[in-house]
């Protein structure tokens, strides 16, 4: 009971009341969006608007206001990270993975990006009537393998079955908790001018893999998703120079560009990227060229961005490269004082441009 008190204090001690003026007036401009659009979940500006103006406003508390990949809670002498994510990927099975392994890796990574060591997961299944039992078994086994591989236990769960036609085969929600070490202080707000941006490997692999098998857009590649649990990679960084790791994020939906925009906005700093060193595979680049996609906005499921103190950057880069999931890690940019809240990129030919938050998802272009 004593342990719980500080949490209550943290959660309730908000000085300002939530602004739900006019009783329960909806904060999203209804004239513009009378219904929810797909782009509200696309990871871009509309998602951000929904989260910040509706969810954060309604659930207002200082922990949520951090807008991290997960919540960081002080419980007695311990700090815990708590994170949840729902997985609605289609198709359910794709090269190199499936919705089950993704549901484990994604949440393990969200916990790891808080600087925590993941210890346990919950799993909620929303299953559509008619899903082949064999498919469900494949997904569950895949989750079990992924959890075992990541050293976390699935300790509780929930099952619901919905009418045929009311789900896309299966949706999975996982929630994870982890323990944060003493010297670790990871927060998007800690990015400060002079810091260096490390990226753990080649970008846009997961998004393009899924796109290549999506109905109506199939194209041949040898690509497999990069879905992987990153907690041992982040642990290695924190072990090496924990105090110098300021921000950790996995650039999933919305890609590297959206993630860095969020960090820049939250920390009130600018971020300057270099196009040249950003690792990207030939096949991914080729597919992006054909579809008219900017790979900076395409999803990753096994990559980590670390914003670290400049003096520790080389050492931490070597640490990343020494890990199997960080072999192609690179320094891709820096945090600057100029243009706070914005991300700029220096192109290969030396030009400078803004890397903005996208409005919604990227759509394949005409020609």
């Amino acid at each position: 009971m004593r342990g719980l008190l500080p949490i209550r204090a943290q959660l309730m001690a908000n000085d300002t009341d939530p602004d739900l003026s006019g009783g329960m007036a909806c904060p999203i401009p209804i004239s513009d969006y009378p219904t929810v659009q797909l782009a509200h979940g696309g990871g871009g500006r509309l998602s951000q608007m929904l989260i910040e103006e509706m969810f954060v406003a309604a659930f207002d508390n200082p922990v949520l206001a951090q807008l991290h990949d997960g919540a960081i809670l002080d419980i007695g002498a311990n700090r815990l990270a708590l994170s949840t994510d729902s997985y609605v990927v289609h198709p359910l099975f794709f090269p190199g993975g499936d919705i089950g392994s993704l549901a484990v890796h994604g949440t393990v990574n969200d916990v790891a990006m808080c600087g925590a060591r993941p210890i346990a997961l919950s799993a909620g299944f929303i299953i559509e009537e008619g899903l082949p039992m064999e498919d469900l078994w494949r997904i569950v086994r895949s989750m079990s393998d992924a959890a075992h591989g990541a050293g976390v236990a699935v300790v509780t769960g929930d099952t619901k079955v919905v009418d045929r036609g009311k789900g896309d085969g299966i949706y999975i929600n996982t929630t994870g908790i982890g323990v944060i070490g003493d010297d670790v202080e990871i927060s998007p707000h800690r990015a400060r001018p002079g810091d260096v941006v490390l990226l753990s490997g080649a970008i846009a692999v997961h998004g393009i893999t899924i796109m290549s098998v999506r109905e109506g857009l199939e194209f041949e590649t040898r690509l497999e998703t990069d879905s992987a649990a990153l907690h041992t990679l982040t642990a290695a960084l924190l072990e090496r120079r924990g105090r110098d790791v300021h921000v950790l994020r996995d650039p999933t939906r919305g890609g590297v560009a959206s993630t860095l925009n969020e960090i820049a906005a939250q920390a009130g700093v600018g971020i300057r990227l270099d196009e040249e060193p950003i690792p990207i595979d030939e096949e991914v680049r080729g597919a992006c060229e054909i579809l008219g996609f900017d790979p900076l906005y395409v999803a990753n499921e096994g990559k980590c961005i670390a914003i670290v103190a400049r003096e520790a950057a080389d050492e931490l880069l070597q640490t990343m490269r020494g890990h199997p999931l960080g072999a192609r890690a690179a320094i891709v940019g820096e945090v600057v004082e100029e243009h706070p809240g914005k991300v700029f990129l220096r192109s290969r030919i030396g030009g400078l441009r803004v890397v903005d938050m996208l409005s919604g998802e990227q759509l394949p272009r005409i020609c």
Binding site: D32, T35, V36, Q37, L38, A39, R45, L46, G216, L217, E282, R285, G286, E289, L291, G292, K342, F344, S347, R348, I349, G350, G351, L352, R353, V354, D356, L358, S359, G360, L363, P364, R365, I366, C367
Partner: protein
């Protein structure tokens, strides 16, 4: 990556930019025709690397942008019908009609699907004989061959539940219209390399001669655009006019004659309305009489739909190179990608989208 990295190298860019700086002696206004080129220029930051004597203005070559709103409203009306599977290239979905866009129709339950090729739409029609499958056939000469092929195949295979809502436009009449406008300030063109890959460049020779301007057929990579600009500046400084081919790795004078033949078989030239600009004589394609059975505007009786354009949107002036997106009072305030007044703010080839996305104000 081969065929890409060679055209994005920083050293070569530096050399070509140096050559431009050494060549230019007075102010020049050059228009790049294609919205894909506009995006490369802004994305790679080339506009900021050129000497200040050179002004680049952005042309009408964004097929999404010039599709008249009436057509968008027709598409929306068709897509809302329960028997219809409406197929389209991705970037048409966000283009605002009078009251909605196709993404909104989709969110309301309309069966709107993104395809990458019009032939995929024919496949969908074949697989769904009980439904009407409509493809939104927009684009310049670049997409016309594939769209012609879709109609041609559907006709040969007897896929009767397939039709196209056609809004094809052509570059040369648009260039003539721009040069004929009293407000125009264009002194040289970077012609759209991919249009010329299909059509060749012989059509531009009489335009270049008549108006005594240089027309440089130009590719889409950063180095293509810097080199195309250099060729245009060199011609202007030397007082030369005529057509030159920067994009020779893809374009010949005659173009792709097999594609042209197919287009001629399926389409005929017609007057076409350009959004924000107006009707330009002989500037588009419509289906030939032998293929009108595949005309969705006739099949679904939507020809009478009229549209109301935003009075505030200056897209027409922007696409004629008369104004820049940043000159629009609504830019970035009342017109954003989330709430666009006109198509150039949401198309992947739109000039306003390029300015907004890559931070030009």
């Amino acid at each position: 990556m081969r065929y890409v990295d060679e055209y994005r190298g920083g050293e070569d860019a530096g050399r070509l930019l140096g050559a431009i700086r050494r060549t230019v002696t007075k102010p020049w206004v050059i228009m790049e025709i294609c919205g894909g080129q506009t995006h490369t220029l802004i994305k790679a930051g080339i506009d900021r690397m050129l000497p200040e004597e050179i002004t680049l203005v952005h042309g009408p070559g964004c097929p999404v942008c010039v599709t008249p709103m009436r057509l968008i409203d027709q598409a929306i009306a068709i897509a809302r019908r329960p028997e219809v599977i409406f197929t389209s290239f991705g970037d048409m979905l966000r283009v605002p009609g009078s009251n909605a866009d196709l993404l909104k129709v989709k969110s309301e339950g309309g069966d709107v699907r993104i395809v990458y090729s019009p032939l995929d739409a024919v496949k969908i029609a074949h697989a769904n004989p009980g439904r009407q499958v409509v493809f939104f056939a927009v684009g310049f000469e670049t997409t016309a061959p594939a769209n012609a092929m879709a109609v041609w195949r559907a006709e040969r295979a007897g896929v009767e539940n397939f039709s196209v809502l056609c809004s094809h436009v052509l570059v040369p009449p648009a260039m003539e219209a721009i040069l004929g406008s009293p407000d125009h300030r264009v002194q040289g063109f970077l012609a759209a390399g991919h249009v010329c890959t299909v059509m060749g460049y012989w059509q531009y020779e009489p335009i270049a001669d008549r108006h005594r301007i240089p027309v440089i057929v130009t590719g889409f990579e950063p180095l293509d655009l810097i080199q195309g600009t250099y060729m245009a500046i060199a011609a202007l400084e030397e007082g030369r006019h005529g057509v030159e081919n920067q994009y020779s790795r893809s374009v010949t004078r005659e173009g792709n004659t097999a594609a042209q033949q197919l287009m001629t078989e399926v389409f005929e030239t017609a007057d076409r309305e350009w959004r924000g600009i107006g009707v330009i004589p002989g500037s588009g394609y419509r289906l030939r009489e032998s293929f009108t059975a595949f005309d969705a505007s006739l099949r679904f009786d939507v020809a009478d739909i009229e549209a109301t354009e935003s009075e505030e949107c200056i897209a027409g002036l922007i696409m004629q190179g008369i104004e820049r997106p940043s000159a629009c009072p609504a830019f970035g305030t009342r017109c954003t990608p989330e709430k666009p007044l006109g198509a150039p703010m949401v198309s992947s080839e739109g000039a306003c989208a390029a300015y907004y996305q890559y931070g030009r104000s």
